[in-house]
């Protein structure tokens, strides 16, 4: 297979970036998208050019590190898959493929396709946990949890923190990510004691980081590689509303 690539190149955070054209040949349909970029980079290095910087680590769709906006979509055209789990068979021979970083003011670019998503960590640091010090726990089975709730919590907990929701959202909102964590802990009894604090503190931090506001467009849900549901955002809204109303 052969492809025309238009890749965003930007030397560092301050530099001006632009799309650069590359053509690449002899690509096998079974290659992953990142392996295709590997091949391209290999060519570049051999030609003495600077290879394209991109984030990736596990290449199994679980670490959430890979993050490309491909052909106008976060993680590319394949439904419910990360960039590393996107295979070239999803494209047609001869396609022109745009490759850009996840864009949002809250995700500043570090280089080329690499962005700084530490805003997510700072949001989690405000309440994405249960405050239980090591060694304080009671026996695990002393606290039965409704299986249905446990399953729903697991659905929400599956978020990999990749930021595709932000990248896909026309408003650069981070609601799907934040709501996934708030939901997980709101659904479990362990999260009960801190739920009000959690909702308010995490949402405040989210706003402070400069993410946009949700207008229920649903692009996040459609592009999320882990199929995190919009119901989580509704649950977060509820949590936040209740917490705000009783907040003293």
């Amino acid at each position: 297979m052969k492809f025309n690539l238009k890749v965003w190149r930007q030397k560092n955070a301050q530099a001006q970036g632009k799309l650069v054209d590359y053509t690449i040949e002899n690509i096998i349909p079974d290659m992953s998208f990142l392996e295709m970029v590997d091949v391209l980079n290999d060519n570049l290095v051999r030609k003495g050019e600077d290879p394209i910087a991109f984030d990736h680590d596990c290449r199994e769709g679980i670490c959430g590190m890979c993050s490309m906006y491909i052909s106008g979509r976060a993680h590319g055209p394949h439904h419910a898959a990360t960039t590393c789990q996107l295979y070239m068979r999803s494209f047609k021979d001869g396609d022109t493929i745009y490759v850009e970083p996840f864009r949002a003011g809250a995700f500043p670019i570090i280089k080329d396709l690499v962005t700084d998503r530490s805003a997510f960590d700072r949001i989690i640091a405000k309440g994405g946990f249960v405050s239980v010090n090591t060694g304080q726990a009671q026996d695990a089975n002393n606290l039965p949890v409704d299986k249905a709730d446990a399953e729903k919590a697991m659905d929400a907990a599956a978020c990999i923190g990749c930021g595709a929701c932000v990248a896909a959202c026309p408003n650069s909102a981070a609601m799907l990510f934040v709501s996934a964590k708030i939901s997980q802990l709101a659904l479990l009894p362990q999260g009960g004691p801190e739920r009000n604090n959690r909702a308010i503190n995490m949402v405040n931090q989210m706003d402070e980081e400069g993410f946009g506001n949700c207008t229920n467009i649903g692009a996040c849900e459609a592009e999320c590689p882990k199929e995190i549901k919009l119901t989580n955002i509704a649950r977060m809204n509820r949590e936040y509303l209740v917490a705000s109303l009783i907040n003293e």
Binding site: K6, W8, G17, L19, Y69, S71, G72, R73, P77, Y98, E100, R103, A104, G105, A106, A168, P170, N171, S172, A173, M175, N196, N197, I200, N201, V203, N204, M206, D207, G210, F211, G212, N213, C214, T215, N216, I217, G218, A219, A222, E223, L230, T231, I233, A234, R235, M236, N237, R238, E239, Y240, L241, A243, S244, L245, N247, E248
Partner: protein
């Protein structure tokens, strides 16, 4: 606990949008029901009866203030959202394919809302403004039925109204169920119902409104 800023926080703004949006939806129901009375074909008698009630009742006047307040809140908040959301991505994508993941009208609520706003200005100037002005200056109400007959004999005016109803249709197609989501009333069990109700509402109400100028234009009401 940190302070929550229910009004200005991202979620607070959503709540306001949802509440004011639903309030406006409720207003539309009232408005459409009263105006629908023109089809009694009694030369506007029933219609004028209710219009008179709405135009003179004290409580309705208070509600009217609330309505304008709500509308302004809805607009200000909506436009603020639109601006903030635009600024949240300072560098735009060079190439984007949003239709793959969302509906254009969901992404264009600001635009659709602004179109509705234009319409509202014209609409208020046509009916509500002159009527209130007359009430203040002469203490008399205008015959709104007649006013409609006059205005809607103009084809352009009819086209303008119908176009506005399309904006409203799309605004509501997204807005109705969106408001429930904003208020946290999204529940797998009821989502389908909300969705159906929303779609039905988005079709029926604008359709009812659109049929009014059309009916007048073709002299179907008298």
């Amino acid at each position: 606990m940190q302070n929550s800023v229910l009004i200005t926080s991202s979620i607070g703004k959503k709540l306001i949008m949802g509440l004011t949006g639903l309030f406006l939806v409720f207003f539309l129901v009232v408005h459409a029901s009263i105006n629908g009375c023109i089809w009694f074909n009694d030369e506007g008698k029933t219609f004028l009866y209710y219009a008179h009630f709405m135009g003179t009742n004290f409580l309705v006047h208070i509600a009217e203030v609330g309505l304008f307040g709500g509308l302004i809140l809805h607009m200000v908040d909506g436009l603020l959202l639109w601006k903030q959301n635009r600024d949240a991505r300072p560098v735009k994508y060079a190439y984007s394919n949003p239709s793959a993941n969302s509906k254009w009208y969901s992404r264009s609520m600001g635009l659709l809302g602004t179109l509705i706003l234009f319409f509202l200005i014209v609409h208020l100037r046509n009916f509500w403004g002159p009527n209130r002005l007359n009430q203040i200056t002469t203490g008399e109400e205008l015959n709104l039925f007649q006013l409609m007959q006059e205005d809607f004999s103009n084809l352009w005016m009819v086209v303008f109204y119908v176009a506005a109803c399309f904006s409203l249709f799309w605004h509501l197609l997204h807005g109705f169920k969106s408001a429930f989501q904003s208020l946290g009333l999204n529940n797998v069990k009821y989502n389908k119902a909300i969705e159906i109700a929303g779609t039905a509402f988005a079709i029926i109400v604008p359709l009812v409104f659109a049929l009014m100028p059309i009916s007048f234009y073709f002299n179907l009401v008298h």
